[in-house]
């Protein structure tokens, strides 16, 4: 809306780069414009992303395409029940000469150049592994081999499928809170896209599909700098500040905000959550969205566009409602936006 100021030329260039990035990813992942947009926002907000969805909706494909377009070193690991934290850091084997060897594991292999760490099926890993991730995600450091390793450009992408519950471990609240977003992925609704996904041979060979994505569209090493430039460039009016705080209040105390959901005692629905860190993440992601939309000020739509993905997994319901979480939390988010006046 506003013409960018001349000093923001760098931001404008980067906005175009972000557009190219989205276009490249969209070559491999069709019908997921929203998920791609959210991942882009997460990249420029320097946040970790959890993808959640049914089996075979393209979670892994999306993350591989993103990792390729983003450039930088890329590692992935599959979550299993017997995976231990040490498996991430080193692995031991007998070399061809018959002597035991200790080699750096997936996290350390690329040393500090690591930019995308992709944790597949994260809920299959044990809580010990989740605990290692806490520090890796929050501080981007790990202690191993008697020294501290820093990963300044690290971004963790994880996925999990929500169908299976056997032999899985629910992520602890602290770990979930460290993810900037939990993006739910659904199979595309659009009939044409569905037909293409089912019949077009192009989508059957994932490796070739990923190879179509141009590598390293973004300069991953400078994203950190640009991310903080975005945070400073996008202004938030006092009205937006009031709005966000009102949303937060309404989310934590829906009954007082006058929100009613059918068949639920609103007084005893939300136990807690929606941490201040979550709120800071919310504003950070909203600023990136405003920047992607070509504005240097926030509007309520920025908040709304990312709210469910940033906040939903931070709300903790009373245990009795936790089983119906998948329907209650989106309804609650919608009700909050239907209730809280923007200006």
């Amino acid at each position: 809306m506003n013409p960018p100021r001349p000093g923001d030329a760098m931001l404008t260039d980067w906005r175009e780069a972000a557009g190219r990035f989205e276009a490249e990813v969209a070559k491999a992942v069709v019908g997921q414009a929203r998920a791609i947009r959210l991942v882009t926002i997460a990249i420029f907000a320097r946040g970790h992303v959890m993808l959640e969805g049914d089996v075979g909706t393209g979670k892994t494909t999306l993350l591989r395409a993103v990792a390729r377009a983003l450039g930088g070193a890329y590692e992935r690991i599959e979550g299993t029940v017997d995976l231990m934290p040490t498996d991430l850091i080193y692995h031991t084997f007998l070399g061809s000469d018959g002597r035991p060897r200790v080699e750096p594991g997936p996290v350390l292999r690329q040393a500090e150049d690591l930019s995308v760490f992709f944790f597949n099926e994260i809920n299959r890993a044990r809580p010990q592994v989740h605990a290692l991730l806490l520090r890796l995600m929050a501080e981007r450091t790990v202690t191993a081999f008697e020294r501290e390793w820093h990963f300044p450009n690290l971004q963790v992408f994880a996925d999990r499928n929500r169908v299976e519950r056997e032999e899985t471990f629910e992520l602890p609240a602290a770990a979930r809170d460290r993810f900037l977003m939990e993006i739910g992925m659904e199979a595309p609704r659009d009939a044409g896209t569905r037909r293409a996904l089912a019949f077009d041979p192009r989508f059957h060979d994932t490796d070739r599909l990923i190879a179509e994505v141009a590598p390293a569209v973004l300069d991953h090493a400078s994203i950190g700098g640009i991310a903080s430039a975005i945070q400073h460039a996008v202004a938030a009016a006092p009205e937006i500040e009031t709005y966000v705080v009102a949303l937060w209040d309404a989310l934590l105390r829906p009954a007082e905000a006058g929100i009613r959901l059918a068949g639920i005692d609103m007084e005893h629905l939300v136990q807690g959550g929606a941490s201040p860190r979550g709120l800071a993440f919310l504003v950070r992601a909203a600023r990136v969205r405003a920047w992607l939309e070509g504005r240097d000020w926030l509007v309520p739509e920025d908040i709304r566009a990312i709210f469910p993905d940033v906040m939903a997994h931070r709300i903790f319901l009373e245990p009795i409602h936790e089983m119906r979480r998948a329907e209650i939390v989106p309804a609650l988010c919608r009700a909050v936006f239907d209730r809280v006046p923007a200006p």
């Binding site: 936006f337 809280v340 923007a342």
Partner: protein
């Protein structure tokens, strides 16, 4: 013709002598009454200022004698005293013309003074009127006794048409009022609010020159949209809103400009620029058109 009787009373007490000055009794005529006639008697009692009549002392309506009923007693104030209006009805079936005497009565009067209440009596003297027979004593011989009966006077036939018409119109008005009440109380379902009409009314109270008035006016339109849609409406929701409420489709363009102005004024902190982009008269006109569209919806 009327009979005038002026009587000065001889009063018992000196105090009372000071109160009742005169009693004057008038009837329209003193003769020519027949069976069933009403006699209107007017009695003027001249009093000193401050005296009042004691109503308990007035004669009660009812039979006075077997041939005379008192139908009505009324008291009026007048300058310098009071006036009694008595209505008698005579039931005397006279065979010849004769005078009948109506008995007098006493009226008690009271006067409030600083020293206490003083009372006095006003004597209404007996008076007489002349009655006449209705028919001859010895009527002509008839064979059929029914022939003695005289026909009733002819009554004018009334036209029921205006009354029926009035009843019909009033019944219609009554039903209409009931319908309005039902609408107002929403007896048959939810009444659709008119948020834009309300906003337009509130806008009239806003001062254009007030620096915060423009933002307040934008807020009014926001609330109107919110209430129309039952949810908070943001700029990006406009196309969906127009789909849901096609009545507002002609206003799509001005709603677009409204949202742009609102964004600038609230979130871009450029109230002045917003105001130049969408000036106050346009805002007023748009809100009026929205209120009109809402009525049509």
């Amino acid at each position: 013709m009327r009979v005038l009787a002026i009587l000065f009373l001889i009063l018992q007490t000196a105090a009372a002598a000071a109160q009742v000055r005169s009693v004057e009794l008038r009837t329209p005529r003193s003769f020519g009454y027949v069976l069933g006639d009403l006699l209107q008697v007017r009695i003027d009692i001249a009093l000193d200022p401050g005296s009042t009549v004691q109503r308990a002392s007035l004669p009660k309506p009812g039979p006075v004698t077997y041939w005379l009923d008192l139908r009505d007693v009324a008291v009026e104030r007048m300058a310098g005293g009071i006036r009694l209006r008595l209505t008698y009805q005579s039931f005397y079936a006279a065979l010849d013309a004769r005078r009948l005497e109506v008995p007098g009565f006493t009226v008690a009067l009271a006067s409030e003074s600083p020293g206490g209440t003083t009372t006095a009596q006003a004597e209404i003297p007996p008076w007489s009127f002349g009655v006449s027979p209705l028919r001859e004593v010895q009527p002509e011989k008839r064979d059929d006794p029914a022939d003695y009966l005289q026909p009733d006077g002819r009554a004018r036939r009334l036209d029921p048409q205006p009354a029926a018409m009035a009843a019909l119109v009033l019944a219609g008005l009554g039903l209409l009022a009931l319908g309005l009440l039902a609408y107002d109380r929403a007896w048959f379902g939810r009444r659709r609010g008119r948020p834009f009409a309300l906003a337009a009314r509130r806008l009239r109270r806003l001062a254009e020159t007030d620096p915060d008035g423009y933002r307040e006016a934008l807020r009014l339109i926001h609330r109107g949209l919110d209430e129309t849609d039952g949810r908070r409406l943001l700029a990006d929701d406009l196309p969906a809103f127009l789909d849901r409420h096609p009545a507002f489709r002609p206003e799509g363009e001005s709603l677009g400009r409204f949202f742009e102005a609102s964004r600038r004024a609230f979130f871009g902190r450029e109230v002045q620029a917003a105001r130049e982009g969408w000036p106050w008269p346009e805002l007023q006109a748009a809100l009026r058109r929205l209120a009109a569209a809402e009525r049509a919806a």
